[in-house]
Symmetry: C2
Subunit: 274 residues, 2 copies
């Protein structure tokens, strides 16, 4: 499987503190070493950095750290390959144009059977289940809505499509169009919405410390979504199976609460998922 990291804020924010803990899981504190990618929205544009090397050791990841890029929406992914070889084409996050916007998607899970998209307008380029699932969502959205519908309609239809795809396996994902961020949980996904009063926090992966009061104003709102919590001394919300959250400007705007499920020893839903 893989791990996911997303950030949605109301002011352009630097994700380096979170990313530096997260990337250690790709080769140092965990084994998600089959490449990484990170996408930063800048308005409607996206900067995307990928490497097939482990994020913990990648010079591209060092480059990301140096620039301190500030963004309202960021999605990162460290890969442990299940389907598709280790290569740039199979590296998340994936990106497609929908209604004149960049949509960025990253997945943690494994989908065993998926619709055939060979005749569709939007097709996968690599060989992952993840990109195929994203293309299916993009294609269905474009087919139903020729022009961009309301956020409520988008959120509702993505839930419908997700239920269909989640029949095929584990489907934790983060999706953003640069305005909002949607997170769906099958097995493991956590989030925290930080706002004033900010405090000092410590990373799980290397004990690194930051005092957010030095970097924020009282109006800042910053949501971090990730597979497993990145800090020790904060209260992360664990999402449950089938849970959906819609974040905008650093806040939770819409939510569908999931149901608690016992996971198998390997962290999956076990045979019950199919």
């Amino acid at each position: 499987m893989c791990q996911l990291l997303g950030m949605n804020c109301n002011v352009p924010t630097d994700i380096v503190f979170s990313f530096e803990g997260f990337r250690r899981r790709a080769g140092l504190t965990d084994s998600h070493s089959d490449g990484f990618g990170i996408a930063f929205f800048e308005g409607k544009g996206v900067r995307i950095f990928r490497d097939e090397k482990p994020a913990a050791l990648s010079p591209v990841a060092d480059c990301v750290k140096q620039y301190n890029i500030k963004s309202l929406n960021v999605i990162a992914h460290i890969r442990k390959a299940t389907q598709g070889d280790v290569s740039i084409v199979n590296t998340h996050p994936f990106i497609r144009e929908i209604w004149g916007e960049n949509w960025v998607f990253a997945h943690n899970g494994n989908l065993k059977e998926l619709p055939d998209l060979s005749g569709c307008y939007c097709r996968p380029i690599g060989s992952t289940d993840s990109e195929t699932a994203f293309c299916y969502i993009a294609d269905q959205l474009k087919k139903r809505y020729c022009q961009k519908p309301s956020e409520d309609e988008i959120f509702a239809y993505i839930q419908e499509l997700t239920k269909e795809l989640a029949q095929y396996g584990t489907f934790n994902f983060i999706l953003s169009n640069g305005e909002w961020m949607i997170a769906h949980c099958s097995t493991n996904l956590h989030y925290i919405c930080r706002k004033a009063p900010f405090c000092q926090v410590q990373r799980v992966d290397d004990d690194g410390v930051i005092d957010f009061t030095n970097y924020t104003t009282k109006n800042d709102k910053v949501t971090i979504i990730t597979t497993f919590p990145l800090t020790k001394n904060e209260k992360w919300t664990k999402m449950e199976h089938g849970g959906f959250v819609f974040f905008k400007d650093g806040e939770k705007i819409r939510e569908v609460v999931g149901v608690r499920k016992e996971l198998a020893d390997d962290g999956t839903l076990g045979s019950a998922q199919h």
Copy 2:
């Protein structure tokens, strides 16, 4: 206007020597300073680096230099904005999925009027004429051919679409799907196909020297396409107005020869272009 750089080879090749001369034109030897981008194909995947800063000064361009990424197909662009503000979303090269492949496109020119794509499946995200023209090509290709046709059919239809778009202004471009590279000239585009015996060459922009015999084998074929020649002591082929070249594995495979046109003082076709 802008400047273009493309490389198409039969062995993965490092573009640093050419790119280091080219990027000087973005702030040092010339004024194409409104951002840059460079896309490297790796199989069907693409690594793409962009910055809205001038390429000559950009830390992202420094990063590109450090990695010495080897690729069969590379497209780079330095921008001097005509339409669309200076931002990541308006930075070439643009990328779209066509028939399950990444297609990468960069444009030098200015198209004054273009078809409305607001109801189309493939739409521009930013506000440049260049991205709109590329989306028009992508949309028409997908509409005519549900599955990928032959290279001859692709080359023929792209010529037809280009003639249509070139009515609206200057349309020099480079386009690649990671297998081949197509170059079209309205005003300024030059290329060179290097093969054994390789020699020592000197850059135009800073007199930097390289001896290709130290980096090549006798079977290597490397084509470089660019707005204005990058080296002094080589014979570059100047493309003429309406000229098309199709390169594959570092060689010229198909060609439509253009016609010689006198350019206006500003390097454009003057009023005759409309």
